[in-house]
Symmetry: C2
Subunit: 280 residues, 2 copies
């Protein structure tokens, strides 16, 4: 069994990324927009900021009250778009329900959209042909990077993704289809989830339901990527019951220490690229 | 067994569409760009043109030689974009291999992209949230329209799509996910296709392989949409062996007379909408 250690993969990637950042004639500058008091969001933002600063990336967090209006946020995005010293803009999700996040992110300039979440970046991630997105969702990139680290041929592999979100399931399914995979996308409405998971050569789960994926739900010899993160009895766990599943699979990413740290690495890579392609 | 008659559905739709076109203070104008001498493409274009004219839509076909360059085509698109009398632009596919069609279509103005094929239209078709595409691929729209004509709840239905193209599989999968479906997307690399087709509540096949889908490949009581069209023994047939499958399913669209005529109706609806939202 191969443990897909995201921390190690990220550290390897940082060696090169640090050099690339140092060789830029500017300090990459990321602005994170954080709305409200969600405790988990605050931790995620803090982790990103800490790692960014370690790598030589400026990371400013703009904290806004829970009752900020859509218009105020859109004005903020406009100001950040027009500020040539800002290279990347990240809106921490989830936003309070009165705010429309897709509409907000659609206003982020293509090259500053380091989450790859506006419709052009998502469209170009998925569309077949020569068009390339400026940025790809860091989580989807992390999943692809982890799969590629196994050095296997992805063609004809059946991948089941238990997540159909703009950040994970949608971009990842498009990337996998381009590799010649067959892809099944599940969501909260899926009936009889096991029939889709236990036939998959590769299983990606990102629901936030602790230990949703047990031994019976995984195919013998499968590759399992755990994109979920939540708390169970005060312990950080993922969607997959790691202890139960680990001896049945070919490879598996743990939580913590799997997709999470690699996602931060991919995000910071996006910020470096954003700084490189922009004047200012 | 319900036969999903695309000709009837299209005719019903035309009654209303004709009125909407007549009430515009202009004649909608579609330009079709046809490159080379592909016999099937010529027939498709002729059918679209005939129907368009019947409905009161102007349809001009710009025929270009097989050796036209990318640059010449891009210049043509630019001229058509800038011509306020042109409301819709359609590049008939496939293009000769020396031409890059995604790059070409990316240059079509969003509101004139009546095939819904540029990355913003595709991205907005797929992305979850409040963003809406200006146009959606006519084939994907035709499939959704046909499913909705059955007046069934799509939530939790498992749909297998044997097509992962920009025009069919990608937009349709996004639309179905928004309806709460579980979606499996297959392609030419898929191993053991039957394992994905005969578990599907809804099967959509668009490969152009005559009679690829036989009785064994379909689940009892499924809904089958046949998006393929090809010739077998000089007869027009689809992906599905209709005679073999029809008694096993709840509903099925025939070829000819299924998705084909409904796709033309959806395209012409896109042209009407394009004319409505544009000045000129």
């Amino acid at each position: 069994m191969i443990e897909l250690n995201g921390t190690t993969l990220a550290e390897e990637l940082y060696v090169n990324l640090r050099k690339r950042i140092a060789s830029l004639n500017k300090t990459p500058n990321l602005v994170v927009v954080l709305v409200g008091e969600d405790a988990a969001s605050k931790i995620y933002v803090k982790n990103k900021q800490k790692k960014a600063i370690e790598l030589g990336i400026n990371c400013e967090v703009k904290t806004l009250p829970n009752n900020v209006t859509q218009k105020e946020l859109q004005n903020l995005i406009k100001i950040l778009n027009n500020n040539s010293n800002v290279h990347g803009i990240l809106v921490q999700l989830p936003l309070p329900p009165h705010l429309d996040y897709t509409l907000l992110i659609e206003n982020i300039a293509l090259e500053k959209d380091v989450d790859g979440l506006n419709s052009i970046n998502l469209g170009r991630t998925i569309i077949k042909g020569s068009l390339k997105p400026t940025h790809i969702s860091a989580t989807a990139k992390a999943c692809m990077y982890m799969l590629k680290s196994l050095d296997i041929d992805l063609t004809s592999k059946h991948v089941t993704i238990v997540n159909d979100s703009n950040l994970v399931g949608l971009p990842l399914s498009g990337m996998l289809l381009k590799e010649g995979c067959t892809v099944t996308i599940c969501n909260k409405h899926t009936h009889n989830l096991i029939q889709h998971t236990n036939v998959a050569d590769i299983l990606v789960s990102g629901t936030g339901v602790a230990h949703l994926i047990g031994k019976q739900m995984v195919k013998e010899g499968a590759i399992v990527l755990d994109v979920g993160i939540t708390k169970l009895n005060n312990k950080t766990v993922g969607d997959v019951d790691y202890e139960e599943v680990k001896n049945k699979v070919y490879a598996i990413s743990p939580v913590p220490g799997g997709i999470g740290p690699l996602t931060i690495a991919m995000l910071l890579e996006n910020v470096e690229e954003a700084a490189k392609i922009q004047n200012g």
